[in-house]
């Protein structure tokens, strides 16, 4: 089995073992949590159970592959179960320390020291955390380390100083919001410096304090961290280094720590100091008495080989390098690369160390030109070139020269070199970022957008790949904020007026004139806000609600965040964005679930810690909202419908802010009148902008244009009645009659629901009129004269056809019914009644329904009269026709028999006419009555004449 195979198998076995251990521990912890173990009853039993649970959580936390956030939560659970064991506090401090929360770590280490005051390990790590902070903290750290190095326990004096510091921090926290403190202290993601791997301990924390050299500490690692500090502190002193190394050497003499000491001798080289002096000192230590006895120790061999390589001056043997002058006598000067290849092949050095030394000696900081430096890399053996670290070396060389080119304004070269790194690692954020900067600096319109999109994309892609939206979160926040701020500040000084308000108005107007800049601000700030929310670990802060928020508010906040993820992030064409969205949604849902549990909400360990940041974010949101409001007002002043698209964009972002949560904050801070409904106020401002142009469109084309503009506003406030009514007006002018009618019909219920009854009545009425007007405008009868029944019938049919298209145009319907009634015939009047009856369920308002009902009653009466009139007419017509018939017959045949028949007919006709007159009189149909009476009179005269 090869070494590589052995390593892989061992790692796999280790991973399996860890997974098995985790599973066993989880099962045991679950049993303990349920109390499902023997002996868990009674006071003693419960105490034993809690101690066992604390240890179970702890063991899970310190498993090598436990996620840092989970480990932190587990250790906190351990402390809840058993608050008297110092190791839980120590590991809490360690985890906070690794996460970059140095103040949190100091508090935790102090708790550990309260329980175990003589624990040098806790003291040393406390000192490491303090070294990450301010000058006072560093001084205290050094005092602590000095005491430890002297083999003493830090005394009451140091602990008093620590307590004073903690008091000062507390005071600082009370007086200043978190965001205003210098150190920032608490980061949402693991502390990362210089792009180190996630979870890498913060670099500065590894610098230890200066000791006096005597290493009598009970914690064996002390001498090396103090050595590192001595090497990295400003104004380092040789005696300090020697003192620390002597401490290491003593341990070798005592028979332990050979590897630690041999490697520590290399520290100056590993820190990059390849000066002759440094090499000489390292050589002297490696040649020292203690290590001579361990010459074959792998660590000693490694150290000697490293030193040997570090001393070599030339990368390649002289003959292999072109143009390097005359031959050198010292063969070592021509041999770095071949010797390095040999050392790696012989298992004396790791390839990473070779790459590092190569970079120091022949990288961008050497005197080599870029092309030569890149060519040298090709001289390595294939085995080394295949190593991952060799790709890193190539990238480092390319990047180093690219940055030099950037500084020297050789932007094309910088672009070329950075692009060369892409095949080696297509996902490197810094490369995408730098290429985007090149595009910006060269104003390369073709490259700019794509380059920045890539820089954005990668920052989300990395988080998606890590399965954690909080990875690179601070970087993304800064990125989005940087764009938003640059847009905002570009026109900040654009106002020239003396009056500050006017000056600000001018600046806003100038900004608004740059649509692209505004669009960037709108978009980027929302991205910033969303990322800022996701950074909170406290569920209520993540959701942006108060601690006592109702369930309804929590649900609303959750929905708002999910909506933002859906509308802002999801549409981005970036690789991995769907995964990122899913992860972000999961975070939001988990927060909502946790916030729904009131007990968990009260116990929220992050609430207080994150409150200042949450308040600051809320204030930023308020400031953003007021800025958007001011922009809308500036636009409204222009009374220009063409601004509506921009106004709608502003309004959309304005209404997306959580005003239900922000409004009470505004009122509490005295920013608004407590009675003011901010959303209503903003809506009014926006509607004023949307309706600012009150003139009627001159023609259909102008109306169509206005409709397009108004559509933007309606997208934002689709149920706003004044906007809907305005749309009806424009639709009517544009002669889009069906749409006018449909819009009016749809808007009437919205109008009826307006809180002000007068306004509700007015808009309802006007919208009904709009529906009618659409129908009337559609009625273009082809019949011009109504002289014959056929013409009347056609006319009515055309009217009915229009009514079928606009059935709820009640005014139009009434008009037709009135026309039919006026025709007076029974069938028309009946038809009018049916028309009105059909219209009742279609009425848009109660007012219309009442009108239809009243008219229907009137039509019924009319119908009855019309029936009488028809009967009267029939009697009279019958009488007249029969008389005319007998008169004609009498003229042809003047015989006595004919005369007698005529007399009988006329008598009957008179009787019919009299009956008609009586019917008409009874029905109050005076005209018909008069006509009947006249007929009676005329027929009576004829009857007399006939004898």
């Amino acid at each position: 089995m090869s070494t590589a195979d052995y390593t892989v198998t061992t790692a796999a076995r280790a991973g399996d073992a860890s997974a098995r251990e985790r599973a066993r521990l989880r099962a045991a912890v679950e049993k303990l949590e349920r109390g499902a173990v023997a002996g868990a009853g009674g006071t003693d039993g419960r105490a034993r159970q809690r101690v066992a649970l604390a240890e179970g959580y702890f063991r899970l936390a310190v498993l090598p592959d436990t996620d840092p956030a989970e480990a932190l939560a587990l250790v906190q659970k351990s402390i809840e179960c058993d608050p008297f064991h110092p190791k839980f506090f120590f590991h809490l401090g360690r985890l906070l320390h690794r996460a970059g929360d140095f103040r949190g770590a100091v508090y935790a280490y102090r708790e550990a020291l309260k329980l175990a005051p003589t624990n040098h390990r806790a003291h040393a790590h406390l000192a490491l955390a303090l070294l990450e902070l301010g000058d006072k903290e560093k001084t205290l750290a050094r005092d602590v380390l000095k005491a430890l190095a002297a083999g003493q326990d830090p005394g009451a004096n140091e602990l008093d100083k620590l307590n004073q510091l903690l008091d000062a921090w507390r005071k600082d926290k009370e007086e200043k919001p978190e965001a205003e403190r210098a150190d920032g202290g608490k980061s949402a993601e693991p502390a990362r410096k210089g792009g180190g791997k996630d979870g890498e301990p913060a670099a500065a924390s590894k610098r230890a304090a200066q000791g006096d050299g005597a290493n009598g500490s009970r914690w064996p690692g002390l001498w090396r961290i103090t050595l590192v500090d001595a090497l990295t502190s400003k104004g380092r002193r040789r005696p300090d280094l020697d003192a620390q190394l002597k401490a290491g050497e003593r341990r070798v003499r005592d028979g332990e720590g050979v590897a630690e000491y041999a490697v520590a001798c290399l520290f100056p080289l590993l820190l990059g100091d390849l000066s002759a002096d440094s090499l000489k000192n390292v050589a002297a230590r490696l040649d020292g008495e203690q290590l001579k006895q361990h010459a074959e120790h792998p660590a000693v061999r490694l150290a000697r080989t490293t030193l040997e390589l570090a001393r070599l001056q030339r990368a390649l043997p002289e003959a292999a390098t072109e143009g390097e002058g005359k031959a050198q006598d010292d063969p070592a000067r021509a041999a770095f690369i071949p010797r390095a290849c040999e050392a790696v092949a012989a298992g004396l050095l790791p390839a990473e160390l070779v790459c590092f030394l190569h970079y120091l000696k022949f990288g961008p900081d050497s005197a080599l030109p870029a092309a030569d430096a890149l060519r040298l890399l090709e001289a390595y053996a294939p085995a080394i070139k295949r190593a991952a670290c060799f790709d890193e070396l190539r990238i480092a060389v390319l990047d180093g020269f690219a940055r030099r080119a950037w500084v020297g304004e050789k932007l094309d070269l910088a672009r070329l070199l950075w692009r060369e790194t892409i095949p080696l690692d297509p996902h490197r954020i810094a490369v995408a970022h730098n290429l985007a900067l090149v595009a910006a600096r060269t104003h390369a319109r073709d490259d700019y957008e794509a380059a920045w999109e890539r820089a954005f994309e990668l920052r989300y892609l990395h988080a998606a790949a890590a399965g954690n939206p909080r990875v690179l979160l601070e970087d993304r926040r800064t990125m989005h904020l940087a764009f938003a701020q640059q847009s905002e500040q570009r026109y900040a000084e654009a106002g020239k007026a003396k009056d500050p308000k006017e000056r600000e108005r001018e600046a806003l107007a100038a900004w608004l004139a740059d649509r692209d800049a505004v669009a960037v601000w709108l978009r980027e700030w929302d991205f910033y806000y969303l990322n800022s929310r996701l950074r909170f670990r406290s569920p209520v802060h993540l959701l942006g609600v108060s601690r006592d928020a109702s369930g309804e508010v929590v649900t609303e906040a959750r929905a708002a965040l999910l909506r933002q993820i859906e509308t802002l992030l999801s549409p981005q064409p970036w690789a991995g964005i769907k995964t990122f969205c899913a992860l972000a949604e999961e975070l939001v849902n988990e927060a909502a679930e946790a916030a729904a549990d009131l007990t968990a909400r009260r116990r929220d360990p992050f609430y207080e810690e994150e409150k200042a940041d949450a308040d600051a974010l809320a204030y930023e949101a308020i400031t953003r909202g007021f800025r958007l409001h001011d922009m809308l007002r500036v636009l409204a002043e222009r009374r220009d419908g063409a601004q509506l698209a921009l106004g709608a964009a502003l309004a959309r972002h304005l209404f997306a802010l959580p005003w239900r949560i922000l409004q009470p904050i505004c009122a509490a801070r005295g920013l608004i009148d407590p009675d003011l409904d901010l959303v209503e106020h903003f809506e009014n401002v926006f509607v004023r902008l949307a309706l600012a142009d009150e003139t009627e469109p001159e023609d259909e084309r102008a109306a169509a244009r206005r409709l397009n503009q108004l559509a933007h506003a309606l997208e934002v406030l689709p149920d706003n009645v004044p906007l809907r009514f305005r749309r009806c007006r424009y639709l009517l002018t544009a002669r889009r009659l069906e749409e006018t009618y449909a819009e009016a019909v749809a808007a009437v219920p919205l109008a009826a629901a307006l809180p002000d009854p007068k306004e509700a009545d007015l808009y309802s009425h006007n919208l009904c009129v709009m529906a009618d007007n659409a129908a009337f405008a559609a009625f273009k009868p082809s019949v011009k004269k109504l002289e014959t029944d056929e013409q009347v019938e056609r006319y009515v049919a055309e009217w009915r056809a229009v009514l079928a298209r606009f059935p709820r145009a009640v005014g139009f319907r009434k008009e037709l019914a009135e026309f039919l009634i006026k025709l007076g015939r029974g069938k028309y009047v009946t038809a009018a009644g049916e028309l009105l009856q059909d219209g009742l369920p279609l009425a848009l308002t109660d007012e219309q329904r009442d009108e239809l009902s009243a008219m229907l009653g009137q039509a019924g009466q009319q119908a009855r009269s019309a029936a009488v009139e028809d009967e009267v007419r029939a009697l009279l017509d019958g009488a007249v026709q029969s008389v005319n018939g007998v008169v004609k017959e009498l003229n042809r045949d003047p015989s006595a028999a004919a005369r007698e028949r005529a007399r009988a007919t006329v008598r009957q006709a008179v009787a019919d006419a009299r009956r008609a007159a009586q019917l008409a009189a009874k029905a109050g149909l005076n005209e018909a009555r008069e006509r009947a009476e006249k007929t009676v009179e005329q027929l009576g005269a004829l009857e007399q004449k006939l004898g």
Binding site: T7, L25, A28, L32, V37, Q49, A52, L53, F58, R59, V62, P64, K87, H91, R121, A124, L128, E180, A182, G184, K193, G194, G195, G196, E200, P201, A203, K206, T232, G257, A259, V263, F267, L270, G272, H297, P298, A299, P350, F356, E392, L393, A396, D399, A402, R403, W406, A430, N434, L437, A440, T478, L481, A482, Q485, Q489, R490, D514, D516, A517
Partner: protein, 147 residues
């Protein structure tokens, strides 16, 4: 098209330093600029010119004062994120570019390398350690469940 402006006016550009400049660098540049401005004031041709230079000096001093105070500088940087963000970032691994990180990265590399040769190299501190087996405490109730 809206493009970011890498030369946007900022406290740093007013001083002519990089946004990542150290406090010491800022102090040095501030002192140099103030000295130059004072020399120009002495040689100013008019009162108006002198007043302008005095105002400029006060402005520079104000900037330096603010950037020298860590809390105020952090606040300024936060409120002007673009100033720092729109700067070239090192694309190389921290091993090559970050002096304070490299020792720890290399130490870990050497530890893994020596482990492959059967040699244990102790971590520099518990912040670098993975194995905390020795921190376990024997607890009968738990251990009985694990057996």
């Amino acid at each position: 098209m809206f493009m970011i402006d890498l030369g946007a006016q900022s406290y740093y550009s007013a001083l002519g330093v990089s946004p990542s400049a150290t406090t010491e660098e800022i102090r040095e540049v501030g002192d140099r600029l103030a000295n130059e401005l004072r020399a120009q004031q002495r040689a100013a041709a008019s009162e108006e010119e002198k007043k302008r230079l005095e105002e400029r000096e006060a402005y520079i001093n104000g900037i330096v004062r603010e950037l020298k105070a860590p809390a105020e500088r952090a606040k300024y940087d936060r409120e002007h994120a673009h100033v720092r963000f729109f700067d070239v970032q090192p694309a190389a691994a921290p091993l090559f570019t970050n002096k304070s990180d490299r020792l720890y990265v290399l130490h870990r590399v050497l530890g893994e390398f020596l482990a492959g040769q059967g040699v244990a190299l102790a971590a520099l501190s518990d912040l670098d350690r993975q194995d905390f087996a020795q921190d376990k405490t024997a607890v009968d109730l738990l251990d009985s469940l694990l057996r």
